[in-house]
């Protein structure tokens, strides 16, 4: 039950993009069409869940054991970069169809604040292994939900009469702000 609360909290209440402002670059850049957005979301779920698991293990069994937890930032970012490389190579060899679908988004995720952010939050909240994985999964699902909704809205407003200076990024940000307000409705969900 506690795990469910963590997942829902991560996905909706503390939505990674709309409430914590992590992962904004891909959010604005990749949300033009619903299928690219869904593809990006899928890749993000994949990477963040694995990254949460791996960083949690490394923290517990290496950093804490050797009492070098102050190296967490450096170690985490290197691990995440290496992980994305491995995932890409692994997918290419074993599941080429999945690689075709997700492959182009994977390098995009490495410098994404969201992955490092989730790893650091897991440590900050002292989550065990399972809670870290669920938190990571929930966060990524929240990212996917928001990016797909954004893509859907963007496809529709493309035909609207937008003021000249608001075309492009500004209208996307206004939409994101309205979505953030909508997601406020979730704030009493977990108590």
């Amino acid at each position: 039950m506690n795990l469910l609360l963590i997942a829902v909290g991560a996905a909706l209440v503390n939505n990674v993009v709309l409430s914590q402002f992590l992962g904004l670059c891909p959010f604005i850049g990749v949300s033009k069409k619903v299928d690219t957005a869904a593809g990006m979301g899928g890749a993000v779920i994949f990477v963040i869940t694995i990254a949460s698991a791996v960083t949690s293990l490394i923290y517990t069994f290496i950093l804490e054991k050797l009492d070098i937890t102050y190296l967490q930032t450096i170690v985490f970012i290197l691990v995440i970069a290496a992980l994305v490389q491995f995932v890409e190579m692994f997918l290419k060899k074993t599941m080429p169809s999945l690689y075709q679908a997700l492959g182009v988004y994977l390098p995009l995720i490495t410098t994404n604040c969201a992955v490092l952010g989730v790893a650091l939050i897991n440590v900050q909240k002292s989550y065990g292994f399972l809670s870290s994985v669920i938190n990571g999964f929930g966060t990524a699902v929240g990212f996917t939900i928001s990016i797909v909704i954004m893509a859907g809205i963007r496809e529709k407003i493309e035909y609207n009469d937008i003021p000249e200076s608001f075309k492009g990024t500004p209208i996307v940000l206004v939409t994101a702000g309205l979505m953030a307000m909508a997601f406020f409705g979730f704030s009493g969900l977990i108590k």
Partner: protein, 234 residues
């Protein structure tokens, strides 16, 4: 000497990371809930930017090209860790209010972008000034957005009550959606200025950026490379 001053002017005015280049949007939105946080984050990023620019510039002939990105990341992450502990020890209130965004400076596009596009190609002295310029530009950007949001969202600046007591603060401005709205208006104003300038000079210009990232000057951000790839196929 004038090359160094030119770096300063570039970072603060002509290529301001917040207003012109649109880099580092994540911390910009998250941290500008008050002017104090804005200045704190800006100065922290400036310090890290200066140190990492200098270090990367000093090592630029030594780092092999194939591993330069991981090398930059390790250098930046090390400085971030050091600065993080210094903040925790000496300015704990700032450390608490900036929270998780301090370690996230590692993936701040500004730092890696400057490392890739300037520090790896120029000497230590100029790289230091580039870091000071960009960092100050970022700080000015953050502080001005922070002042705006705090003034209208809370009635205060740096904690001092400015607005009269009858003023009903627009609380949404200091919450998450407010950040999006303020940034949207900021970019819209810029677009308007650019459009007016183009109309005066008679050049047809569309202010529609291909994707939010494609117009970004940060060549290191994979979002921009992705957008470039895609703009051919779409």
């Amino acid at each position: 000497m004038s090359k160094a001053i030119e770096r300063l002017k570039c970072g603060i005015i002509t290529e301001n990371p917040t207003f012109v280049q649109m880099l580092g949007m994540c911390p910009t939105m998250a941290v500008t809930t008050s002017a104090v946080n804005g200045i704190g984050m800006g100065l922290t990023t400036t310090v890290i930017l200066i140190l990492s620019n200098m270090m990367i510039s000093a090592l630029r002939k030594v780092i092999p090209d194939k591993v330069r990105i991981p090398a930059y990341i390790v250098i930046v992450a090390s400085f971030v860790t050091i600065v993080q502990f210094l903040l925790q020890g000496f300015v704990p209130s700032l450390y608490d209010s900036l929270g998780i965004y301090i370690p996230l400076i590692v993936v701040n596009c500004i730092i890696l972008g400057r490392a890739e596009s300037y520090a790896s190609k120029n000497n230590v002295w100029l790289s230091m000034f580039d870091g000071i310029g960009m960092g100050l530009g970022f700080t000015i950007g953050l502080t001005s957005i922070g002042i705006f949001r705090e003034l209208f969202g809370n009635g205060t600046i740096f904690g001092f009550q400015i607005m009269p007591s009858q003023y009903e603060p627009v609380t949404i401005l200091i919450l998450a959606p407010g950040a999006f709205f303020v940034l949207a208006c900021l970019i819209a104003i810029q677009n308007k200025v650019r459009l007016n300038k183009a109309k005066k000079e008679g050049i047809p210009v569309s202010c529609e950026k291909e994707n939010g990232c494609a117009g970004c000057t940060n060549t290191l951000c994979s979002g921009r490379q992705f957008a470039e790839q895609n703009s051919e196929t779409k």
